[in-house]
């Protein structure tokens, strides 16, 4: 068989010149200031709030109160790190509370039957297994994240209640109590653990190929797939990481109370999602950074603490939290410009 090769003299190909038309003209809209505002706006809000509360309430500005805020929010902060990764990948997880509760109950049991090390491992394994199941169903099975993780939460919680008959399990938490309640200098151990995990999450998300792929599949799954990105594996790993973070939250929970309480941690999923949303993590995936998630965690923590100190009824607090979420989201939308139009 013979083939024809078109004009073999290979004419010099002038570049497709995009500088000819001014660069700005080829960009749909200006990069503008929204990036800056999104990055630092939430830190500024946090700073302003801390300043106002320091003025308004003498008890707020005490060292013991401030360390208390750090300690109180470390647990949810860790859970939110996992949520961040799952949300960036284009999903989210309603079963983090179930994992936290189950993990802490199982760990509580093992502290008395086999020791602390076994307890910690068992708790983390629960996180990994649930995360793996979630990830496989969502990434490989293509079932939507809401259905999958809602069902998973119900199943896990259901089993937990049947096995424990809904009764708390006493623990001998030992070192976990130190982790949850101890301090180094004046810095709470739990907060140090949080900083370590947040830093780890940052490294994973920005300095590993996996993290980069999590962003890319959240941004455009199809394009990532066609570009040769291991879409399923990356997203499954994101859910495993999320499960692990929830389990670590469960360990701190156990350390705090020294008791495995099956009915605990029910507010985790929505609070963690709220933290991420406040931090500007896109619900449809592909966007969101650890730094803002940390700021959002502290912001919600400071709001709750402030309300407490100002003697605002605990019943009002959820409404205030809701307000903060709405303000953050509205602010974000405004800064992004008319993206949807």
């Amino acid at each position: 068989m013979s083939y024809v090769v078109p004009s073999a003299e290979a004419p010099e190909a002038a570049p497709l010149d995009v500088t000819g038309a001014s660069e700005a003209a080829l960009l749909e809209r200006d990069g503008g200031s929204w990036n800056w505002l999104r990055r630092y706006g939430i830190w500024m809000a946090l700073a302003v709030l801390v300043l106002l509360l320091s003025v308004a309430s003498p008890s707020f500005r005490t060292v013991s109160n401030l360390t208390n805020v750090l300690e109180q929010n470390a647990m949810l902060g860790i859970v939110a790190c996992g949520m961040l990764v799952m949300m960036v990948s284009g999903g989210f997880d309603l079963s983090v509370g179930a994992v936290g509760a189950t993990g802490s109950v199982v760990a509580a049991y093992f502290t008395d039957h086999g020791g602390l090390a076994l307890a910690i491992v068992a708790c983390l394994v629960i996180g990994i297994v649930v995360g793996l199941l979630n990830g496989l169903l969502i990434a490989k099975g293509g079932i939507n994240a809401f259905m999958t993780t809602f069902a998973m939460a119900s199943i896990v919680t259901g089993i937990l209640f049947v096995v424990t008959s809904a009764a708390p399990v006493n623990a001998n938490a030992g070192w976990l109590t130190t982790l949850a309640l101890g301090e180094v200098g004046r810095v709470p151990d739990a907060f140090i653990a949080y900083v370590v995990i947040a830093t780890l999450t940052w490294v994973l998300m920005t300095r590993t190929k996996w993290g980069h792929y999590v962003y890319s599949i959240g941004g455009n799954r199809e394009a990532s797939y066609l570009s040769g990105v291991p879409v399923v594996a990356s997203q499954v790993a994101a859910f495993v990481f999320g499960g692990l973070c929830a389990a670590m939250g469960g360990l701190i929970l156990l350390g705090q109370s020294n008791i495995g309480q099956p009915s605990s941690a029910t507010d985790w999923p929505l609070t963690a999602i709220a933290i991420c949303v406040i931090a500007g993590v896109s619900l449809s995936g592909g966007e969101g950074r650890v730094q803002e998630t940390v700021a959002a965690t502290l912001l919600l923590g400071v709001v709750a603490d402030g309300l407490n100190l100002l003697n605002v009824s605990a019943y009002v607090q959820p409404a205030v939290t809701g307000g903060v979420i709405l303000i953050a989201v509205a602010f974000d939308k405004m800064n992004r410009g008319r993206r949807l139009t």
Binding site: Y3, S7, A8, V18, A24, A25, G228, G286, T341
Partner: protein, 541 residues
Amino acid sequence: MQAALLGGSGLHSDEKVGAMATESSGAGVDGPSTVQGAPLRLAMRGITKSFGDVTVLRNADLEVAAGEIHGLVGQNGAGKSTLTRILAGGYPDYHGTVSIDGEAAQLKSPHDALQHGVAVIYQEFSLVPQLTVAENIVLGVEPGSVSYRPGVVREIAARLVREVGIVQGLPLDYPVGRLSAAMQQRVEIAKALTRNAKVLVLDEPTSRLAGPDRERLFGLMRRIAAEGTALIFISHFLDEVLAVTSRLTVLRDGVVVASGRTSGFDAVSLGSAVMGRVLERQEAKEEQAPSLGRGEVALVAENVSCGRQTRNVSFSLNRGEVVGLAGLVGSGRSTLAKALVGAVPLVGGRIAIGGGYVKLRGPRHALRAGVALVPEDRRAQGLVRVRPARENLMLMSLARSPSRFGLLNPKGLRRSARKAIVDFSVRPASDERRAGTFSGGNQQKLLLARAILAEPDVLLVDQPTAGVDVGTKAQIHRILRGLADQKKAVLVISDDIEEILALSDRLLIMRNGVLVGERRRGGVDKDELVSLISVGTGQQT
């Protein structure tokens, strides 16, 4: 693949240099353009692919030699992109065999295909909007096994782009989502070219490129082919296919109906092979049927400015006429069109619709006022891909007057949708399929039908026939002309100079964000128009 990227060999892998040597010696003996017995690089045999119980490819064969540019043509929905995607590893459940350089290749994932040296410029882009241009270019082939270094990725992208030697001036650090469709097309091209391909598929790369850039792309394709890569070129512009390719394959309804040397075809025979019937010369007929005469003014733009892209633009659109807006990519045409429906805020100037000034709050508001826009980028700004075609078709009509169909008249909805699908010969003619599963050209038809169903007084169309096949193109031209005859005002933006000349009663010419001229039908010819839109922009050399 990764080693090659790291080693910086770009397109010049050893085997290609070898292949090039063979060819050029062959060329020396046999004259300028033929080579006897160039090795077969790609052979796809008996390819069959079904979605559910619909078979979209039946026993298709495709053979491409090293150094050959092979044309793949066919109507919208013929199966061209499906064949491409199989080659790219995107449909692991195909039947048939693929071999590359004589070795059987199992294409079970895009990763496999990359390993086999297949790269694709996709019709619907394969870019991640949130990632930067550099990150997109290197996506999936980042160096290293675990760690990711943004600086290194950027360097690699910069070097690859430089080595490939085209597509200069890409803003490597911009998120792709902030680039216009035309710019994204360049990123898509750059991305595929840097994949060091043995087989390079270009799925309608010219549907978003204007004149001079097309020529540059063709030059580049010839250069790549001369290096021994097998190229598959898909296009609805048959004259391009005739000019650029050496062999071609014609698909109709998933079956190969013709294939052979390009020299054995001419415009007429290729047109009839594609359509399965003889094609009339549409443009010639249109020239003879100008509008029935100008009606009252429907829309006036006064000193409209929106940033640097569009400055101080004034013009009016009259009922009963088709106005063409000609200009290069980046000249501000699309921004202007968006400003006319309030999708881009005005920095200065004002707009009057139907005689009164309005401050447009957004496209929905514009729609209520009677102005509809068909956007250029159907993926990002167009269809709701996961909803049925029917719902997509009715979307704008509902926004225009929520009570017209009520929510209680699904029958009326269905009837209008079905009629539109027939009018625009959408294939397959099903209004229940999800919009995202239609072929590229058919999605374009849905988008246009959706706007027209809303019965606007003023219709703005950005690239009305991007990716649409020859037969349907003529039909869309008839429909646009028909709208003008029904006393609507139509504004057409198109990169296709022939199209805009044939359609427009009046031409507005834009350059670097300002309106530089206006011509009546017949008052300008093709060459003059090309120089009018490009003079002084540095785009024409």
